[in-house]
Symmetry: C2
Subunit: 307 residues, 2 copies
């Protein structure tokens, strides 16, 4: 079933201990779309500037992503420059140029309005709430956010949180959002703010999904998916968005969201995140096969399963 993502399209300059990349294709919606494209039909809404060429758009088209919701504005595409030290879990941001993203007003093409699955990637929570409202028919809504909005627009974020089914954030964001050091306690507090489920991503340690009381009628025991112990992480950029793409893409492909589906979605999220970090930018996500994905899924299973 169709999955709509609204988020950023960007150019990134990235430095990691294993290399440098200059102004390569990036953005939350880009990573998300590519990762999700291996599972279901993906539609993307975002904004780009005049420097975003047909060639850039073709990267998504080649994966069957419907790019007709990409809006073009006068000016430059959102630009981010950052670097990672030996601790690959934390990026140091050098430059953030919002450019055309600053005045982004998402417009959902009429042909996208029947999307049953929706992902609100990391953008202004005001926009997230507006898109959610416009997509009233969506059956299952995922969302992301970051410290910038948690600190800067807490009321607007609280409003957006009431309108999403599953929030995907990392350890630091969860602790900040809940103002709580214990992750399980933070999870409980965040679930009380609205989401039926919460995925907390632990970087190299995997991710845990917590469920609200009675959410999806599936009990409240959490579930944890591992991350792969990878010796050579080339570039961690986009790992979280790729996780979200695999997670939401798998769920959309099943068309339902019971506990079994959500557990497998956690694994597919981790699988897509593990591919993303193997190359700079979106390179690895552009040329996978379902066989690659299933083979990696089996490695994740072998990594954690007793029998």
């Amino acid at each position: 079933m169709a999955l709509l993502v609204v988020g950023s399209l960007a150019f990134d300059s990235i430095k990691t201990p294993l290399g440098i990349a200059d102004r390569i294709l990036g953005g939350s919606a880009t990573y998300f779309s590519l990762a999700a494209s291996y599972f279901t039909d993906v539609r993307v809404v975002g904004v780009v500037g005049e420097d975003f060429t047909a060639e850039h758009e073709q990267v998504m088209k080649d994966r069957g992503v419907d790019t007709s919701g990409i809006q073009r504005s006068n000016g430059k595409t959102f630009y981010w420059s950052g670097e990672y030290g030996e601790n690959l879990n934390e990026a140091k941001t050098n430059v953030t140029e919002l450019n055309v993203l600053e005045d982004f007003q998402p417009t959902i093409p009429p042909a996208f309005l029947d999307s049953e699955f929706l992902f609100l990637a990391n953008i202004d929570p005001v926009l997230q709430a507006e898109v959610r409202h416009a997509m009233g028919g969506a059956r299952f809504v995922g969302g992301d956010t970051m410290n910038f909005w948690i600190g800067g627009k807490p009321r607007e974020l609280a409003d957006a949180l009431k309108r999403i089914d599953v929030l995907l954030i990392n350890d630091g964001e969860a602790k900040m959002l809940a103002q709580e050091h214990s992750l399980p306690r933070a999870a409980r507090k965040i679930l009380a703010k609205g989401p039926k489920a919460l995925v907390i991503k632990h970087g190299e340690y995997g991710a845990t999904i917590f469920f609200g009381q009675g959410a999806f009628g599936i009990g409240h025991h959490p579930f944890r998916a591992p991350a792969l112990p990878i010796e050579e992480v080339k570039d961690p950029t986009g790992a979280g968005d790729s996780f979200a793409g695999g997670f939401m893409g798998y769920i959309a492909a099943q068309g339902e969201f019971n506990r079994e589906v959500l557990k497998r979605a956690m694994f597919y999220g981790s699988v897509m995140g593990s591919f993303a970090v193997e190359c700079f930018g979106t390179e690895r996500l552009q040329k996978l096969s379902r066989n690659d994905i299933e083979a990696r899924f089996q490695i994740f299973r072998e990594l954690t399963h007793l029998d």
Copy 2:
């Protein structure tokens, strides 16, 4: 089969966000013995001072631990005082009084020499190597160490590492020992120093076992066991030693160490660690049943297993 542990017996004063305990029974050998006692016959070698009463010893005896290897010296028992802040993964040490541990010379009682399984808890690597030598007939040897020895006695530690089968340390210790930030790369470097297998404990994120090339003839894919998302960690002290006790105890009970046994041992290690942190000191480890342990094992399975 019999499992011998050589390590510290201690009194601990502990402060955590959830309470305070003054001069309670502690020490690596104590936590290890209690945790392992639910799986196999445990024998303990360590040293105590005049302040260590029959009542303290009875805690281990009540769990069937053979305490005849506990040596008594003039003076006071090893004393540690520390506290944990909101980040329960790191203890701040306030006081360390080695006392009788300073001149500890482990003596293995003749009746213990037939122990087929041996655990060298966190003591001076010189003593670890001596005990390993004295226990030449042991079929499977586990060991622990800490930053104090990694920094202070690297040559002696390198010697000890050549004589153990599986080393159990935490993330920070692994990075320090390998001088390497990437855990998978650190694991490879440490395995090159001698151990056939390496368990790296990730605190609240679980633990991963890495295998050396051809170790136990079981391939080199790592295996990861989760930790339980516990809302109320009362006292993290002894969690790592309890993990080691569950891990080694389960292996000793099976009498063999193939990949399947080591995977389950990882789960039982995590199970015992999860119990240890629920109460101050060794309280929770004193009064478990095998049923409690199997029930928790099932919770760990449900936390991570797809089917």
